[in-house]
Symmetry: C2
Subunit: 165 residues, 2 copies
């Protein structure tokens, strides 16, 4: 059967960094991520929503082990660009569903979000591509989030549920 | 050679919808996307950054042809949930790079953002997955954005550069 979702996964060893009030002009993202790349920190999710009044917030996740180096880079860039501030959240987990047949993504997304809502799990951040939907939730709810999503999409075996510690 | 980026693409027939000040509690995302799915609108990118003071903004793109039905759904949900408001932007384009070897994504992201910055192209929204980085730019800069990214990653032929009108 051409199930829209072929697997799901949970990543628990990431930290979330948010930089607020960045100048919304060309060069900002380059400066931020090149400085982080120079310190060999591996960035996973990057999320920027549309800015307002010339300012934008950018959030991203890194491996928790790379957090100290990342925060040094972020502090420099936030100061140089005059950002409002930055903060990090260490107890997050990313739950994702993947599937090549997700063309009608709004149906799949709605279903995933329904399961998290019914389990009382708040979604902290969302990012998608054509074949994947990822939601950031608080870490202690990660296993529960994976369980309800796994059950909803009737997946007997998740795609290597990389529950990285 | 194991190039981190194997292709890039441009999508020009999307509209961006942003809903601001949504209640940041379980059920909000479900309500929004299930209502949109009921109207058979195809959602592409979904972006939510972390909220503040119990409110969060959610942006997403839909095919421009699905915009009227989408805005009806959004208006209902924004009213029912007491969102601050919503707006849409019709002249956007999504430029993406794809590559299985993107594990060190911060280096690839920094390079893509550098090219857009050097061309004076502002990034309106960012979303990523393990194998894809997408940036929303204003539509009249879409072709230029594709060109500079394509050149930077030395791609002789983009992956079906689906420049959909
Ligand atoms: C906020 C940031 O993305 C900025 N708009 C840039 O282009 O770099
Ligand atoms: C803002 C929205 O994502 C909300 N946190 C939810 O879980 O649905």
């Amino acid at each position: 059967a051409n199930r829209p979702v072929s697997g799901c996964a949970l990543i628990k060893n990431e930290s979330l960094v948010t930089v607020t009030g960045l100048p919304d002009r060309p060069g900002t993202s380059w400066k931020l991520f090149s400085r982080i790349a120079e310190r060999n920190a591996t960035v996973d999710m990057i999320v920027q929503n549309v800015g307002e009044q010339g300012k934008a917030d950018i959030s991203f996740t890194v491996m928790s082990k790379d957090l100290p180096a990342t925060l040094e880079a972020v502090e420099e860039v936030a100061r140089e660009l005059g950002a409002s501030g930055f903060y990090h959240e260490d107890t997050v987990a990313k739950v994702s569903v993947v599937g090549l047949g997700m063309a009608q993504q709004s149906g799949v997304a709605a279903k995933m979000f329904r399961e998290l809502a019914n389990a009382g799990i708040n979604i902290l951040m969302i990012t998608t591509s054509e074949i994947k939907i990822s939601a950031l939730v608080s870490r202690e709810l990660g296993e529960e989030a994976l369980r309800v999503v796994h059950r909803a999409f009737e997946l007997d075996r998740p795609v290597e549920p990389s529950v990285e510690e």
